[in-house]
């Protein structure tokens, strides 16, 4: 069990995942449909996510086994394999989406003509490496990255806060409650970070105050994201949808800093790099789900899992013709239903299954 995450690593992992996945393109995408109410869409989604995260923490505390071992014991192998396939497909889509966002950030901010196949190849190497490592390897990396992520968030906030006009939040509920609920549902794909916590089950060393630390981490990341989103809306107002890379764009507000210091480059480099690690984490989740499905049939199941994952990833990228706009349309119009079922209904079902789980057996590591 030495390859388990510490509670600190798990908390850090949660923080980085939530912050980096929400502060890239999402504020712009949501504000396109909800304008100044975008922050309310975030708030609603976060409230739901937080409640679900409490359920996940309950499962982490209660279950000692790996998620799929636990499910296998409770509902049988066939159903568990089906669940693993469903989860892995969701993570393949999440990976594709973050690769897309990462590409947009590099393409817009690094200001070079990027070769898409080469970019994907570089990401693929990264995925293969991170996806086939243990969760604690990613956890250790995040323990280092959290400092630069925290620093760049603070830097963006300092640069942009002065330009934020809180009046831009008014009027509240500009497009009504229905719009907020609809957009929260449409963009549920970007939320549901508690799903990562399913992979913490049996993979986190149980320490004192585990529950408290994980809750604190979740709440802190929500607070940070909400603050930046509010600043983003207050700063850009009507032009917010045009600013596709939230955290990077708010760091470019001060013309003097742009001309003399270019502090924004710190943020410009950190977030794309962090998002690559995020892709690595999602690929870990997908690969380990696939691995569970094939481990009884294939000897070198890890390598095959990685190859299957890469195949699906390449298929998704080719299917959407390397175009983020097509993919975005698919995500909000079709994938949101699938995502809702897996993220919320399936997670809740797993919680229900875990309620009466009493036997704490030493589980095998998948």
């Amino acid at each position: 069990m030495s390859k388990q995450l510490t509670v600190h690593q798990a908390s850090v992992l949660l923080f980085v995942v939530i912050c980096s996945s929400k502060l890239m393109m999402l504020p712009s995408l949501i504000s396109y449909q909800s304008a100044n109410d975008a922050w309310l869409v975030f708030l609603l989604s976060f409230v739901i996510d937080f409640l679900f995260s409490l359920l996940m923490i309950f499962i982490i505390e209660k279950v000692d086994d790996n998620l799929f071992i636990f499910l296998k014991k409770r509902i049988g192998k066939v159903l568990t394999i089906i669940i693993a396939i469903l989860i892995s497909l969701l993570f393949v889509l999440k990976c594709t989406q973050f690769i897309g966002e990462n590409y947009v950030m590099f393409d817009e901010k690094m200001y070079i003509e990027m070769n898409k196949p080469m970019f994907l190849l570089a990401i693929a190497f990264f995925i293969v490496y991170l996806g086939s490592r243990n969760l604690n390897s990613i956890g250790r990396t995040m323990e280092i990255l959290i400092y630069v992520v925290g620093f760049s968030i603070v830097l963006s906030f300092i640069i942009s806060f002065n330009a934020a006009n809180l009046e831009n939040l008014f009027p509240f509920l500009n497009y009504g409650v229905k719009n907020i609920v609809k957009n929260s549902f449409n963009h549920c794909f970007w939320f549901g970070d508690f799903l990562i916590m399913l992979f913490f089950v049996g993979n986190v060393k149980k320490e004192k105050h585990m529950h408290k630390k994980l809750v604190k981490s979740y709440l802190l990341s929500i607070l940070v994201v909400m603050t930046i989103v509010v600043v983003f809306i207050c700063v850009f107002s009507k032009t917010a949808p045009m600013h596709r890379t939230c955290i990077l764009d708010i760091a470019e507000l001060e013309p003097r800093l742009l001309s003399e210091g270019r502090f924004n480059w710190i943020v410009d480099f950190i977030f794309p790099i962090v998002s690559v690690f995020l892709v690595g984490l999602y690929s870990y989740c997908a690969i380990h789900s696939i691995q569970f499905c094939i481990k009884d049939f294939v000897k070198s199941n890890k390598t095959i899992s990685v190859l299957i994952f890469l195949f699906f990833l390449a298929a998704a990228v080719i299917l959407f013709r390397f175009n983020y706009n097509f993919f975005y349309d698919f995500l909000i119009n079709i994938a949101s239903y699938y995502c809702f079922v897996i993220q919320y209904l399936l997670s809740f079902a797993i919680f229900l299954i875990s309620i009466n789980y009493k036997t704490k057996l030493k589980g095998e590591v998948v």
Binding site: E108, Y111, F170, P171, F236, T239
Partner: protein, 413 residues
């Protein structure tokens, strides 16, 4: 050693990455050979063509301080076409991400700039903080003139524009603020104007002998004939373009801008000269009063369904100069309160006059630069919608808004 390396998966991955990406990387041409760094852009309209001009930093040793700045320009049927032609002229791709000033020539401003800015912002060709400037002649000529004066045009322009607004003269706008106004429904913006005038007028001469050897600015592009005269002076005196629906409607004079800036919170300083003050302290005196601070609050309300906005403004002022009976009175110590009742009354009258003129002017052009409609929508959405529903022509909503001004003057030493 080789065996050890080949046994390690991570080493194999690293070797594969290196063997693919290193040859690609070392064969890449360095970016500075392919791209230029523009610090200011000028856009002019000439008949059916657009003329794009850029001030480019040339990173090389120069004997003069402004020898590193060159102005290039190119024409095209549309903005993108002109940018592409500009790249062809320069032999490099025009990189605009460091641009911090965009100058629009007279004809371009009249035709409208919103779509051009929208294009720049959406295509991510510019950063959105570039200061917008109009000029009374061609933008190309202004870039040429300024390149002779200063090699950091963008910094100077930003500084000038911002100071103007703070001191109640002129206004400043960035791409971001302009487009926010444009999309807000009020559709009106104020953009500072840098004028090109003759050398007998105020301003900075563009013909300084120290900069006469600025070869880059004069030889960079032979394809454009400069209209500027040798004694061209760049003048930033507070003239401001009023844009409605993205098009320049009128150029506001510095005096008129004083009125507009009464209502705009950012302007906190300024000088007002009061003539013919007579009381116990003054005898038919001209008193120069400087505004030291201004605190402004707004109250929104409706009377008989008609929206009314009341501005409560507290000015802190100081008497700086007194001219009495043709003689300058220079002793201004702290023993007397020079901001007398007569000064306050006269000041209130003057400010109200400026303010009324600006309101009338803004209504004449249906230019809600004070964002009154937006404020009513934000804070009194229901009443505002009721008001709009009663109007036959909603575009005239601004015309009926009633403005009230409560002024309070406090003196300081």
């Amino acid at each position: 050693m080789t065996k050890k390396i080949l046994k390690s998966k991570i080493m194999i991955v690293i070797l594969i990455i290196l063997s693919i990406f290193v040859p690609l990387t070392i064969n890449n041409v360095k970016q500075t050979d392919k791209r230029t760094v523009a610090i200011a852009v000028g856009i002019d309209k000439e008949d059916d063509n657009y003329l794009i001009s850029t001030q480019i930093i040339v990173p090389e040793a120069s004997s003069t301080f402004n020898g590193n700045i060159r102005v290039y320009s190119a024409r095209g049927e549309n903005i993108l076409d002109a940018i592409e032609n500009l790249s062809v002229h320069m032999g490099k791709v025009a990189g605009f991400s460091n641009v911090s000033a965009i100058v629009f020539g007279k004809d371009m401003a009249k035709e409208g700039i919103a779509k051009t800015l929208d294009f720049f912002l959406r295509s991510k060709r510019l950063n959105d903080n570039a200061t917008l400037i109009t000029t009374n002649k061609k933008a190309y000529d202004l870039l040429q003139s300024v390149a002779k004066i200063d090699n950091s045009f963008s910094y100077s322009i930003n500084a000038l524009a911002r100071l103007n607004q703070e001191s109640s003269l002129g206004a400043t706008a960035t791409i971001e603020s302009f487009l926010n106004d444009y999309y807000s429904g009020t559709n009106a913006s104020l953009v500072g104007q840098i004028r090109q005038v003759q050398d007998d007028e105020e301003g900075i001469s563009a013909n300084n002998s120290m900069q006469s050897s600025a070869d880059g600015s004069t030889t960079a592009n032979a394809s454009v004939q400069s209209e500027q005269d040798k004694n061209n002076v760049v003048s930033n005196s507070g003239y401001t373009s009023l844009f409605v629906n993205g098009k320049e409607e009128i150029v506001i004079t510095p005096d008129q801008m004083k009125g507009f800036n009464v209502f705009l919170g950012i302007s906190k300083r300024g000088v007002i000269t009061l003539k013919g003050i007579s009381d116990e302290l003054y005898k038919n005196a001209d008193v120069a009063v400087s505004i030291k601070n201004k605190i402004i609050t707004e109250q929104l309300g409706y009377k008989n369904g008609i929206p009314r906005i009341t501005y409560n403004i507290n000015y802190t002022v100081q008497v700086e100069q007194i001219r009495q009976n043709g003689v300058n009175q220079i002793i201004l110590d702290g023993s007397k309160d020079y901001v007398t009742k007569a000064v306050k009354e006269k000041l209130i009258t003057e400010i109200k006059r400026y303010a009324a003129d600006s309101i009338n002017l803004s209504k004449q052009y249906n230019a809600d630069v004070f964002k009154a409609q937006e404020a009513f929508y934000k804070y009194t959405k229901k009443e505002w919608n009721n008001y709009l529903s009663k109007l036959t022509d909603k575009s005239q909503a601004y015309q009926n808004i009633e403005f009230f001004l409560n002024l309070k003057i406090s003196g300081t030493f």
